[in-house]
Each structure stands twice: as C-alpha cells, then as structure tokens.
C-alpha cells in the first residue's frame, strides 16, 4: 500500500529518521513502535506532508507519493489521526467534519444545511456514534471526539489512516470502542499505521510490526514473531557511549526532600519518595505519565489534593512558589520558551530574575546593580555561556543550548538545595548537553539534591544515582544504580498497559 524507499529526514543537520525502507501490505495494520525520539512522529509527519523528506521516495499504491502540503496528502487518501485531539471545540460536529469542504449551493457562500446534516449523520453512523451532528464538540468526551476525528478522516475516503498515540486520552472502554472501529475499517480494506506506546494494543491490533530506534528500522516482520520482551529489547537495545562526564561525588546520607503521599485526582496517586543531599534522582516514564505535573506540584505551581512535602525536614505549604525559592528550591521547566525565559528581555535580566530580592535593599527596594552584575558575570562563566553573547542581548537571539544555560544559570545563582530539572537537554546540541550534564553533577557534588526528569533513557542511566519510574501517575518501580536496566525501566513505565 505504502512503501518507503530509503527515506530520510534531518532537522538542522541532526538526523531524525532514516534512511529507512519498508512496505505496508494493502488492507493490513502496521504497528510502529519505538522510544520517544526514535523517529515515529517524523515518519508520520512525512506521510501527512507536514514535513518533506530530504532523501528517498515514498510510493502509495505503486505511484510516487510526494505531497507538498497536508491538504494534498488528504486528497491522495492519507489521513492522520493526531495524538492530541485536533477539533474545534466551539464548532458543531457537522461543522468540524466538513470544515474544508462544506456542501454548497450553486452560489458559493451558501451552505446546504440539509445535505450537511445528512452527510454528517452518515459519517457518524460509520464510526458508530449516535449523536446529533449539531452538538458542539466541547460537549463530547475524549473518546467521542476521537471518533469524530476518525469520521472526519473517513469523509475524505482515505486509503491509509495513520493513528498517532490514538488512545492516550481515552479510557479503557473508549479505547475498546476505537479498536472495534479499527477492526471494521480493516475489513473494509483500509490500510492503517498504528503508532503506540501501548505494546499490548499493538500486538492485538496489528498484522505487521516495525521497530524504530534512533531513526532506523531495527526490526520488522509479522507481529506474531515479536514477543513483548523482544519488542522492548529492540526499542532500547543500545550501549551507552562516553557522552557522560565521570561523576566524582556521591550521595550523602541526610535527606533534603521528602515527599509523602502526594495525590491529585486523575493525574497522580500516592507519590512518596525521598531525595538525599548530593543525589541525582531520575524520574522516568512515558509522555503523559505525570512527571511534569509532579514537578509542578513539588515547586508549588499546582496544589495537590493531599500529601506532604518536606524540605530539610520542615513541611512546605502547598502553592507557595516564592517561599520554596527562598528555602532553596529551583525548577528548570520543560519548555524554556513559555515559562523558562523572558525571551525579549536581556540575558542579564534573565539571569538576575530569581535572585533580585537578595540584592534589593530592605527599606527602599533599591537593587544593588553592581553586586548583582558581579554575581551574574561569575555565573555566566560557570555555565560557560558563549562569549559572543552580549549582556544586553535579548535571550531570544541565543541558541537553544545557550538559552538553557541561561535558565540553569539563573537558578544556580540562587544556590539551590533542591534542583528540579524537567527535560533539561531537550532540543539542544550534543556539546551543550555535555556541559549541562557537567553542571548538574557539579550541583549535586556541592550537596544539593537533584530531581531529573528526562525522556531520554540514556541520560537517566548515565547521570542518576537512582531512578523512579512513573506510570499513569504512580511510582511503579525504583532502581538503585547497580540495578539499572533499560528493559526493566521500560517494562515498569508500561506497567499499566502491559497488565491491561
């Protein structure tokens, strides 16, 4: 049905995918699995034409397939069901279904309302939804929205449907309904590619399997040939290289952070752990496991429904960011552009932001700019910020790696006792990564506790003293350094789905 011939794609010189070659048989379902960053999304984006390949070609039904834009992909019968729901909640089901192709009267601006309703009803029947097409999408459950999205794809008479993590927002029953629909579509002769972290689902639904790792196909064949352990070992099977600086210090015995029974309905349940001084504690888990949410609760940006957090043995009241900072907590957020930096503010202003109160006079609020500038200069050197970057330069103009060093630097200025890092090396180059690793180790060696959230398994294995594994908001495993095992971590991260 679809065939890849040596297809490759790089972003800014970093290879995301390929060259890969494989084929999907007509009327079958191909499962596509791999770790975060293995190239699954890139592959889907190539098919849906949101990006174009650098090399190789794709064949659709034997014809060369090279759509220039998503609309063209859809016209040729390739429909993508997104990971996040992609509907307009403020419009009705019917309007969502026909947004790009309303049935019109002879005079273009007028829509044939009756035809619209009738056709919408037909499409909804096809996905087994018994709803009024006039219903607003915001009133639907996630599962119903997902089905509406599939109905929209079916409206374009697709030959190939791509499912990208289609079940992440669905409950068990809704997922079951989706699987029945997928089964039905297969019987109608539609080919599908099914991307999922839920390996049990993949085994159950798919005919063939392709395993991606580091952008390459590392395993393919009929799904019957793949046991779950084999899938996992293929997904992770690689050696750690010398990307990680050698650790000099080691964890001390006294605790710095204690977390007891933190819960937030629907997000996390009964999370308890302890962090020692000088310890780098990793937090592993799949996207949506609740890792960032936990970090935000720890830092006081969200309030848990129950549970207690102690810093140096003294409880931290919920939702008090400033107090946490004063008591030595620091939090490097997942997305430096939205809440890590003031992009249009200068490098200096960004670096100084957290410690401003320390340099302000108690009576007048006058900031001692000279001392502050001195501290900033010191930390600039400590994080090895590019010498080319001028102090007055807006943070926006820095590269990703230097931006991240600015965020890290602003927290280091506050001399944190607990440093929470959420995906600290996302989207930055290898050289900057190494320096960030070095800084993380240095912080720990100076006696701070570090909580490191990362989707890169290697990073966790290379840096951490201990790893917690989170799955659907619960800690499912804790591994000491001598127990580190990629397969075990991945199994624990998939704990909920494997048993389902």
């Amino acid at each position: 049905m679809i065939e890849f011939q040596g297809v490759a794609k790089s972003y800014d010189g970093i290879r995301a995918l390929g060259p890969i070659s494989f084929a999907l048989r007509p009327g079958t379902i191909l499962g596509l699995i791999g770790e975060n960053g293995a190239g699954k999304s890139t592959l889907m984006n190539l098919l849906a034409a949101t990006v174009q390949p650098d090399a190789g070609q794709m064949l659709l039904g034997g014809q060369r397939y090279a759509p220039r834009e998503p609309g063209a992909a859809l016209n040729q019968g390739v429909a993508l069901i997104h990971q996040e729901l992609n509907l307009f909640p403020n419009l009705s089901i019917a309007e969502n279904l026909f947004l790009t192709r309303f049935p019109r009267h002879w005079c273009p601006p007028f829509i044939q309302r009756h035809a619209l309703q009738a056709e919408a009803r037909e499409l909804l029947a096809e996905v087994g939804l018994d709803l009024d097409p006039g219903t607003l999408v915001e009133q639907l459950s996630p599962g119903e929205s997902q089905l509406v999205e599939i109905a929209r794809a079916l409206g374009a008479a697709p030959r190939l449907i791509l499912f990208d993590e289609a079940t992440t927002s669905l409950g068990t029953r809704e997922a079951e309904r989706l699987f029945q629909l997928v089964e039905k579509l297969r019987q109608q002769g539609i080919s599908m590619i099914y991307v999922s972290h839920t390996l049990a689902d993949v085994r159950r639904l798919c005919d063939d399997l392709v395993v991606l790792r580091d952008g390459l196909v590392v395993g393919q064949g009929p799904v019957a040939e793949f046991s779950l352990p084999r899938m996992i070992s293929l997904m992770v099977g690689r050696q750690l290289d010398q990307l990680y600086p050698t650790r000099t210090g080691e964890p001390q015995t006294d605790l710095v952070l204690e977390v007891r029974g933190i819960s937030q309905p629907g997000v996390m349940r009964n999370i308890s752990f302890q962090l020692r001084r000088g310890e780098i504690l990793g937090l592993a888990g799949l996207l949506g496991a609740g890792r960032s949410e936990l970090a935000r609760v720890l830092f006081g940006l969200e309030r848990p429904s129950s549970g207690e957090i102690r810093l140096d043995g003294i409880p931290l009241p919920p939702g008090q960011v400033r107090q946490r900072i004063q008591r030595g907590m620091a939090f490097l957020t997942e997305d430096r552009r939205t809440d890590g930096l003031c992009l249009n503010a200068s490098l200096t202003d960004n670096l100084g932001l957290v410690v401003l109160p320390q340099y302000a006079s108690g009576n007048t609020g006058r900031i001692d700019r000279t001392s502050l500038q001195g501290a900033i200069t010191t930390v600039r050197e400590a994080v090895r910020l590019s010498a080319k970057a001028a102090d007055r330069q807006p943070a926006r103009t820095l590269s990703g790696g230097n931006q991240q060093k600015v965020v890290l630097g602003k927290w280091l200025l506050a001399r944190p006792r607990v440093l929470i890092l959420d995906e600290p090396t996302r989207g930055i180059d290898v050289g900057a990564k190494f320096e960030i690793y070095r800084l993380i180790q240095a912080v720990a060696d100076q006696g701070a506790g570090v909580l490191l959230i990362s989707s890169e398994m290697e990073e966790l294995l290379g840096l951490c003293d201990r790893i917690l594994v989170l799955s659907r908001g619960e800690i499912t495993d804790t591994l000491a350094r001598d127990e580190f095992d990629q397969s075990r971590i991945l199994r624990s991260a998939l704990a909920h789905t494997l048993t389902a």
């Binding site: 004063q326 809440d339 249009n344 932001l353 401003l356 609020g365 900031i367 080319k388 103009t397």
Partner: protein
C-alpha cells in the same frame, strides 16, 4: 526553519536602530519645532514655551502612570475618569473646610491621591483576582467614574478652592516641582528598584516571572495603583490650574495619555517603555497641539492629526516587534 534567524545576532540597520531608540521621538520633536518655528507667529516665544510646559506637566504625570501599566502588559482606560472623580471629590472636601487654607489643601490633595490609589487598586484586584481582561475592567471603571463625577455634582463646577491648592497647578514653579518629584520617583522605581525589575519581567512573560518567584499579582496591582496615583496627581494640577472642581476634567485626554506612552516607545505587548521616553512622547503631542492651535486649527482637526500620528507610532511599534521577534 526560523532557527537561523533565532541564532543570528541582532543586526539592526541604522534606520531601524533609530526607530527603536529612546531619543528618536525627541529628535523628531526638535526637528518639528525648528521646521515650524519660523512660520508660526508666537510659536518660539518664551511665553508660549512656558505655556507649553505648563500644559505638558499634568499630561506627563498621568502618562507616566499609564506607562507603568503598559510595561506590565496591561492598559488603564480609567485614568481620565479617575481625574474627573478626584477633581470633584477633592473640591467637595475642600469646600467644606472654607477657613483652613493650608490644612484644607493638604486634606484635599490627600483625599484625591487616596481615591486615585483605591480606584487603581480596585482595577488591579479585579484584573488579578477575578482574572478579568484589563481592557474591560478599566473601561467599565471609566464609564462608572465618569458618570459618578457628573452625578455627584449635578453637572456643576465647584468653585472657591483654597489659594494654596490653586497655586499647585496654577503657578509653574510649584507645578514643575510636584510633577518632577512624582515622575522622578517613578523613574527611579522603574530603573533602580526591585518593583521595577519585577514589573518588566511580568510584562515580558508573566509565566516565567511566576516560576521565578515574582509575586505577579502584587506587581500588577501595584502598577494600577501607580497609574491611579498619577491620574490623581494630574487631577490636582489641572483642578488647581482651572481653580474649579470639574466633573468632566480630562475628557479629551485619554487619547493623549495612551498616545504619549506609545509614541514614547511603551508597547501594548508589555515589557517596554520608560518615563523619559514617555516624557518625549508628551512633548511631541503637546507640540502638535500647541502649533496647530496657534495656527487656528479646530480641536477636531488637531484630533485627526494626532490620531494619524499615534497610529503611525503604533505601526512602528508593531513593525519593530515583528522585526526583532524571531517567530
């Protein structure tokens, strides 16, 4: 795809640097003055310049307060209504103390400033606690207090204010001292104080500010309080200048206030602006007023010209924003 742009160091062309400069508008004002001075009789005379200065100071005070709010990424449309309301309330307070010249003045001024701060604080609380958009909150405050000022006085002006009070707005040295003190303090707050640094951070990115421990809500409330105080002080000066409590004081001023801030380089996107640039914006607007007035243009012609100029300034602001923003 936009990564190249993001990494490239900023290389503004000469005109672009000028456009972004704080002194740009000062330069334009000077050129405008020099170009028109020979052609407008009475323009470049000491009396006229003195007049120009006296007219500029109240606007400067209220525009400086507005600038604070704009830096925080908000807007305060209620300033002229605060001026009208404080004008009549202050006048009413002082009218009740007919034989206490200085004491009446002090009480009156304190009452006016107090009302300005309270209304500004109310705006700020509604915006931060109730999460309402600044535009709506301050627009409704404007409607309410404009109406209130006229209702309280039954549309009458209030005369017979203490002489000390009238001197504050009527005698240039007093006006100059009060304005410069207030604006200087504000400038110091913005440039040197913790509040100022926090204010710019909130304007740049409130989410980053929050994660970094900035009390975002408190800073925002403070900004609106300062804007209310600025409006109240401007009201003190203008009420004294007119020697009456005026229920429609500042009715045509809102355009000038926001215009002066924006021409001076404050941005509706937040994070930009300072008192000195706003002063330059005030000077520019008052120069246009003054010169066109001397030429005998009607109020409405002046409005048309100023509208065009403020639009041009807003356009320049938007262009500048797009030019420097990587994506």
């Amino acid at each position: 795809m936009s990564l190249d742009v993001a990494i490239a160091p900023p290389h503004p062309g000469r005109w672009r640097r000028l456009l972004g400069s704080d002194y740009f508008i000062l330069l334009i004002s000077a050129l405008y003055f020099l170009a028109l001075a020979p052609f407008i009789p009475g323009f470049a005379t000491p009396e006229n310049l003195r007049n120009l200065l006296a007219n500029s100071l109240p606007l400067l005070v209220v525009a400086a307060g507005q600038t604070v709010v704009l830096i925080a990424g908000g807007i305060d449309l209620s300033v002229t209504a605060i001026m009208a309301a404080t004008s009549v309330q202050g006048a009413l307070v002082m009218q009740r103390m007919p034989n206490h010249g200085l004491l009446a003045t002090v009480t009156g001024v304190a009452a006016m400033l107090g009302i300005g701060a309270v209304v500004g604080g109310g705006n700020g609380m509604a915006i931060t606690r109730l999460r309402m958009p600044p535009f709506i909150v301050t627009l409704t405050a404007m409607m309410f207090f404009s109406g209130f000022a006229v209702w309280v006085t039954q549309s009458q002006k209030i005369n017979g204010l203490p002489e000390d009070f009238n001197n504050l707005g009527g005698k240039l040295p007093f006006t100059l001292a009060a304005s410069l003190l207030a604006v200087g303090l504000l400038g110091w707050l913005l440039r040197r104080s913790l509040f100022g640094a926090w204010l710019y951070a909130v304007g740049h990115n409130p989410r980053t500010a929050r994660v970094s421990g900035v009390p975002v809500d408190g800073v925002l409330v403070g900004a609106y309080v300062l804007s209310g105080l600025g409006a109240a002080l401007a009201s003190v000066l203008l009420t004294g200048q007119g020697e009456t409590g005026d229920p429609v004081l500042g009715r045509y001023l809102l355009l000038d206030v926001i215009g002066a801030s924006v021409i001076g380089g404050a941005s509706f996107f937040g994070g930009r602006g300072n008192v000195l640039s706003t002063a330059a914006g005030v000077l520019f607007i008052k120069l246009i007023d003054n010169s066109l007035g001397l030429l005998g243009s009607s109020h409405f012609t002046i409005m048309m010209v100023k509208g065009c100029l403020i639009l041009a300034a807003a356009l320049a602001d938007s262009l500048r924003h797009r030019l420097v923003a990587a994506n």
